[in-house]
């Protein structure tokens, strides 16, 4: 047996799940796709006393747009669903470019976007996308619901700000101020590897004017990095060689890469610059 022993609960409703989580406190770990958690448990890097499997709770496997244009992604919405989603392909280009690049087809069958955010792996791709989009996590408990911006949800490597008794029930992307464009570029040594460098770019434009810019980085810091200076430099501007160069340089400055087997810090910083410039410079690739 690879994993150590644990007590297993498989609640069939959120209320039942809240009861279980309250009863076991911080001994309990929520299990959705398990594609990040189970590998840790197999290696015994994680050994929760209690596993609360939420896969049998109905009503969590969905993603849809509200009438106000905001997008909700339920806790059990799998990467595979997002990868094949006509809604994402037509209206959410940053997300639709990222989904196929998560791990591999088998991991995408089970893994979830919300789970990925909760796991808060610094190499996780979705957190960069959600930072670039200004997304938030909706956490629910027996006491009610609260919205947590992703920037405040991921508080460190493998650390999220959920309290005992809370479950992340959905992620939410706010309605855009204008037309969405964007992309996710990921440099990996081979398919299924973690990103050497990942860059999420999301723009909301009216005509040529950028109302809102989002740029966030994967794999070049102790967590995903939001490039606020680069974003602010683009807000209110149009895309031209000068603004693109400035944004790329500011994003590269914001990166905190470490030299490792995937490359030197200088190389990774150069890739950040290259990817941001490439993304912003290719209008066609960024269009929905």
């Amino acid at each position: 047996m690879y994993p150590s022993r644990f007590h297993y609960e498989a609640p069939r409703s959120l209320d039942e799940a809240f009861g279980v989580l309250q009863a076991y406190g911080d001994e309990a770990k929520v299990l959705a796709g398990g594609q990040s958690l189970i590998p840790l448990i197999k290696l015994r890097f994680s050994a929760p006393a209690v596993i609360v499997d939420i896969n049998n709770i109905p009503g969590l496997d969905y993603h849809d747009e509200d009438t106000d244009g905001s997008l909700d992604i339920g806790a059990l919405c799998r990467h595979r669903t997002l990868e094949r989603s006509p809604l994402l392909r037509s209206r959410h280009p940053t997300m639709s470019r990222c989904a196929p690049l998560i791990a591999d087809p088998m991991v995408r069958s089970r893994g979830t976007l919300v789970g990925s955010l909760c796991h808060a792996d610094p190499q996780g791709d979705w957190a960069s996308v959600m930072l670039a989009l200004g997304g938030e996590i909706i956490a629910r408990s027996a006491r009610g619901e609260r919205a947590i911006p992703v920037s405040q949800f991921v508080i460190g490597p493998f650390q999220n700000s959920l309290q005992v008794g809370e479950i992340a029930v959905r992620a939410r992307v706010p309605a855009p101020r204008g037309t969405r464009s964007g992309t996710y570029l990921k440099l990996e040594r081979r398919v299924g590897d973690f990103a050497t460098v990942g860059v999420a770019v999301a723009l909301e434009t009216s005509g040529a004017t950028i109302n809102r810019a989002g740029i966030a980085l994967t794999g070049v810091g102790s967590n995903n990095i939001q490039c606020t200076a680069a974003e602010q430099a683009l807000a209110g501007k149009t895309l031209n060689p000068s603004t693109i160069e400035q944004a790329a340089a500011l994003a590269a400055e914001a990166a905190q890469p470490k030299s490792d087997v995937r490359g030197s810090a200088e190389y990774k910083r150069h890739i950040v610059y290259t990817f941001v410039a490439r993304a912003l410079g290719n209008r066609q690739a960024m269009a929905a």
Binding site: M1, V107, R110
Partner: protein, 164 residues
């Protein structure tokens, strides 16, 4: 020792077994059910040799607890076909020499089945993408891709024959 009763349909057969929650699906298939066609090739969820179909979707059985399969259907390579009645995918791997040591092969075959169930006319790129989670140390993948494309053509011609 805590055990749970799980009810899983494996290769069309309903199975009802008490298991520890920490038992991996791969170990359940191999050691409890004796279906050793599912192979374990790594400890890190990387290689895809353990790929099975759960409700028709490809999943790494080493990265699921058996209890998560409760109420679901699992297909292993044994459920694909038998020696006297091979599935076209199995025929394809024979015809196009899609294996050498055979260790990755069951995973390759089931990932391919998931592809062909969704896309009966894949391009070479579609095949490579669908198999991107399955590693092979022997073949260099070229003949695996040919095997899957051979199987796709065989399945399409069988479908055409039936519809006449």
């Amino acid at each position: 020792m805590e055990e749970r009763r799980i009810n899983v349909v494996v290769n069309g057969q309903p199975r009802s077994v008490d298991v520890e929650p920490r038992l991996l699906l791969a170990h359940f298939l191999r050691e409890v059910l004796g279906l050793t066609g599912t192979h374990i090739g790594c400890d890190t969820t990387n290689c895809g040799a353990c790929t099975v179909l759960v409700d028709g979707l490809p999943m790494k059985s080493c990265t699921m607890f058996a209890v998560m399969a409760d109420g679901h259907e699992v297909m292993t390579v044994e459920g694909l076909g038998i020696p006297s009645e091979l599935h076209p995918i199995q025929e394809g791997f024979r015809e196009e020499h899609g294996l050498q040591c055979g260790f990755c092969t069951p995973g390759m075959m089931l990932a391919s089945k998931a592809l062909l169930d969704e896309n009966p006319d894949p391009t070479e790129e579609d095949v490579r993408w669908a198999l991107s989670g399955n590693l092979c140390r022997c073949t260099g993948y070229q003949n695996i891709v040919k095997s899957v494309l051979w199987a796709a053509e065989k399945l399409r011609s069988e479908a055409r024959a039936v519809s006449r």
